[in-house]
């Protein structure tokens, strides 16, 4: 863990934050669109019977990424607010995901609304690689059923935030 972090970032470590609820419900059309994009023919993603449909596990994070625009709210909404706050507070405007680790506790089915909460687990010392100079950080997100609180799953994402050569 880096010792030179701004106090604001230090204060975020280990603290659950940015609780949010999905702006829509898990639904079959979105599931089919993703399954088509990745060419996954798994029967449960394509069933005409709503009781059989469930979402691909790879969509776990999708439901908590907001729409880009909603009437009366303008645009530029992003998911994973903690990640974007870190970019700002660390002065690292660019970032890529380097790894994800995920567990699915139960299937997401149409009609569910998903709530999530984010926790900053770690921030590295400054590093330089071919993308630029920056830091690695990891964030864990828990996804739950908004109605019952039951855990759908959780994922830990690793990022590299950086300043590019031309920045």
């Amino acid at each position: 863990m880096a010792a030179d972090l701004p106090a604001q970032v230090q204060g975020l470590l280990g603290q659950p934050c940015f609780a949010q609820v999905s702006d829509g419900l898990v639904e079959a059309g979105a599931i089919r669109l993703f399954a088509a994009a990745v060419q996954d023919g798994t029967a449960e993603y394509w069933s005409e019977d709503p009781a059989e449909v469930c979402a691909p596990p790879a969509m776990l994070s999708a439901w908590n990424r907001p729409l880009m625009w909603r009437p009366g709210e303008g645009g530029s909404a992003t998911g994973l607010a903690l990640h974007f706050l870190l970019k700002e507070q660390l002065g690292l405007p660019l970032a890529v995901v380097t790894a994800t680790e995920t567990e699915l506790a139960q299937p997401l089915r149409p009609g569910a609304r998903v709530q999530s909460e984010q926790v900053l687990l770690s921030v590295s010392e400054p590093k330089t690689n071919r993308l630029g100079t920056g830091r690695y950080w990891t964030i864990r997100v828990d996804y739950r059923c908004a109605a019952t609180g039951a855990l759908f799953g959780h994922e830990t994402m690793s990022f590299f935030g950086y300043v590019g050569d031309s920045a």
Binding site: A30, L33, F34, A35, A36, A37, V38, Q39, D40, G41, T42, A43, E44, E52, C54, P56, P57, A58, M59, S61, A62, W63, R65, P66, L67, M68, T78, G79, L94, V96, V97, T98, A99, T100, E101, T102, E103, L104, A105, Q106, P107, R130, L131, G132, A150, M157, G164, D165, S166
Partner: protein, 154 residues
């Protein structure tokens, strides 16, 4: 049983810009490095890059095709080593490293998967998946109490 027990048939697929943009949009990921070539270049990337959910979806589809009806994914770790950009021929490969009896007529299988372009490993995934031990079994019917996914380490 430990050690490689089965090798998945390889799958070759050429990635297009549409694959990358479709995957990003379908996972509601509007970050510009997944659809804006000039922005990606300014990030020192070689072009627009496939996002993590899309890579995960590609590898999950590959594993589910091998596992067959009733299979259900429980846990995975994706490591992205090199960016995946349009007009690249990718080979998906995998081995089953371990398989053991699970709950309700299912087996747990541990898979090591990879996305490779030529000699370059783009991404790797360690995956735990429930596979029906008999044709009439399904992982989707298992109760939440019985669904206790073992660790990636096996």
């Amino acid at each position: 049983m430990n050690g490689p027990v089965e090798t998945l048939p390889p799958k070759v697929r050429r990635v297009s810009a549409r694959d990358i943009v479709m995957g990003a949009a379908a996972s509601r990921d509007w970050q510009p490095q997944h659809h804006d070539h000039a922005h990606a270049l300014a990030m020192n990337l070689p072009g627009i890059i496939m996002n993590a959910p899309t890579q995960t979806g590609w590898l999950h589809a590959y594993a589910m095709r091998w596992a067959g009806p009733g299979a259900r994914i429980g846990r995975w770790k994706l490591v992205m080593l090199e960016p995946i950009c349009p007009d690249t021929e990718l080979a998906l490969s995998g081995v089953v490293t371990q398989r053991e009896k699970g709950p309700s007529g299912l087996d747990w299988a541990w898979l090591d998967l990879a996305i490779v372009a030529g000699a370059q490993h783009k991404s790797t995934m360690r995956l735990v998946i429930a596979v029906p031990a008999a044709p009439d079994q399904t992982g989707w019917a298992i109760s939440d109490e019985e669904w206790q996914v073992p660790p990636l380490s096996g």
